[in-house]
Structure formats: structure tokens, C-alpha cells
């Protein structure tokens, strides 16, 4: 019963993307945004067992730092919400313990960033610990939040309506996001977010395109952008199905 939506990528990288979706209501756009932030399960360390910690920071502080390290999340269906993956770290000073020093028992769950310093160890200091990672959602703890700084804006249509009077100085006109100019999608960063750079000497009109939203999605590395968006959409769908079944009783 799924509906087709018109999705078009404006910018696309592994961890950051901008895409246009047409034909959705503002409420639905916000639903997707919220699902990406709070409802897509990702892996993160939840309990840490310290075997030795003679560093300058407390066990609790180090546990929090380890918890915030993003871990790659395995494909859907591979893990349940109660499964754990154990990672271990063993570093002896003088050295710095990095997130990359975490050794995982599972190839699917690895630190997404390897250069995050956990703790600097001096001579004779040592950190040895075991950590359990679990799958959970952003609404339970920010460490499980796969999406970072996710937002959307209306697509804006720019139309040239005429020339400026000959001796009038043009004022800058700041627009942020993506504009549609004669059907062509242009990120505003291309002209320094200022319409007077793109249309010198012209008078332009800007209006929101109804029901067209440009999403800006960034991830912390635990999922790639595409995976995050599809899982968010799936989570909305499963909630809707659940509601439908509950209401039909």
C-alpha cells in the first residue's frame, strides 16, 4: 500500500546529503525528521567492565566517553534489541588510547571513527576494559542518535520579474537552502547565499514551493545517509501499521 514519492538528491556524500522530496505534507516531513533523530536504532556501548584503570580519569568518565564513540550498525535483522556485542580495549602508557584501539568480537560492529582520543596515558598507567554494545534508539540516549543536525526547508522558487531601475543600487537578498530556477535545483552555497550575486541587476521574486521539502541529513557514521533515511521511513510505516491494526479491533 506504499505510495511513491519523488525524491531527488542535490548533494550526496556518505555521511552528509541534501535531497528534495515532493508531494509530502509539512507534518510528514517533520515525522521523517523526528524518526531519523530518535527512532532509528544504532549501536553504542552501554556497559563497561573496568579490569584496570590507573589513568587520571574516573571509570564513569571513561565509560561515558566510550559510550559516545559511534559504532557501525549492522544490517537490519542481523541483531535484536537485546543482543550485545563485546568490545575490548587494552592500552598501556605512555600512549593515548583511541577509539580505534577498541577490538570488537564482531566485524559488523566497529568504531566508525578511529581517531577519537579516549584518554592520554602516562608512564605506568594502564587502561584495560571490556564493553558491551547494544542496539537502541535516540530517544533513550543521545549516543544512539544516528542522525546529526537534521533539518528541512521549503524548496524555494526564484523567478526573475524584471530589471532593476538603472541607477538603483542592488540590495543583497539572502536565501538559504536550495532554490529552483526554471526547474533547475541550485544549492544557495553556489552563489554565497545571496541572490544579488546570481541575478545582478534583476528584480526577483522568491516563493515557497508547496509540499516540496529539502532535507539536510548528516550522520555520525553509524549508518550511511541512505540507510538512515530508509530505516526512518520504515519505522514510520511500522508505527502506522501498528496503529491501523489497533484501531480496527
Amino acid at each position: 500500500m506504499s505510495e511513491e514519492y519523488d525524491v531527488e538528491f542535490v548533494e550526496r556524500e556518505e555521511r552528509e546529503a541534501r535531497f528534495l522530496v515532493r508531494g509530502i505534507s509539512p507534518g510528514f516531513a517533520n515525522g521523517i525528521r523526528r524518526a531519523m533523530v530518535a527512532d532509528v536504532p544504532t549501536m553504542a556501548i552501554d556497559t563497561v567492565r573496568f579490569i584496570e584503570n590507573s589513568s587520571v580519569m574516573f571509570d564513569e568518565q571513561l565509560a561515558l566517553r566510550l559510550g559516545l564513540v559511534p559504532l557501525t550498525t549492522p544490517p537490519e535483522g542481523e541483531f535484536g534489541e537485546d543482543d550485545t556485542v563485546t568490545l575490548s580495549i587494552d592500552v598501556e602508557g605512555p600512549a593515548t588510547a583511541y577509539s580505534g584501539d577498541l577490538v570488537s568480537e564482531d566485524d559488523l560492529v566497529q568504531p566508525a571513527d578511529e581517531n577519537v582520543p579516549i584518554i592520554e596515558l602516562k608512564e605506568d598507567q594502564r587502561l584495560e576494559a571490556e564493553a558491551d554494545a547494544v542496539l537502541d534508539r535516540g530517544k533513550d540516549h543521545a549516543k544512539h542518535q544516528g542522525g546529526v543536525a537534521i533539518g528541512y526547508r521549503h524548496l524555494q522558487r526564484v523567478e526573475v520579474v524584471g530589471d532593476l531601475p538603472e541607477f538603483e543600487e542592488q540590495e543583497s537578498r539572502i536565501v538559504r537552502g536550495v532554490i529552483e530556477d526554471d526547474g533547475e535545483l541550485v544549492p544557495t552555497s553556489e552563489f554565497d547565499h545571496d541572490l544579488s550575486n546570481r541575478y545582478p541587476g534583476k528584480e526577483v521574486e522568491v516563493e515557497d514551493v508547496p509540499n516540496a521539502f529539502v532535507f539536510h541529513v548528516e550522520t555520525d557514521g553509524s549508518l550511511d545517509v541512505e540507510e538512515l533515511v530508509t530505516r526512518a521511513a520504515d519505522s514510520i510505516e511500522s508505527r502506522a501499521t501498528e496503529l491501523e491494526e489497533a484501531v480496527q479491533l
Partner: protein
């Protein structure tokens, strides 16, 4: 209870009669060593 003298860095065993004092150098500041138990911490 095992402690460590903060001046001479030697291990000190305290009993209930001796008071808090290092038997080797007489220093009165003793540090309690971290337990060898594995400590489990929740990430919060």
C-alpha cells in the same frame, strides 16, 4: 586492608591497634589502593 604510604610508597597493612601510620617511615598519610575487582559501570 592494604594501603600505600604516600611518602615511601611501600605497602602497609593496617591493624586495629597501630593507628594510621606507616610502620616504615612514620608518615601519617596513607593511600588506599584500587581494588583488583572488575568494576562494572553503566554509561549514562
Amino acid at each position: 586492608m592494604s594501603y600505600k604510604c604516600s611518602r615511601c610508597k611501600r605497602d602497609v597493612q593496617l591493624d586495629e591497634y597501630g593507628g594510621v601510620r606507616c610502620p616504615y617511615c612514620g608518615h601519617r598519610v596513607l593511600l588506599k589502593e584500587r581494588s583488583r575487582d572488575v568494576k562494572e559501570v553503566d554509561v549514562q
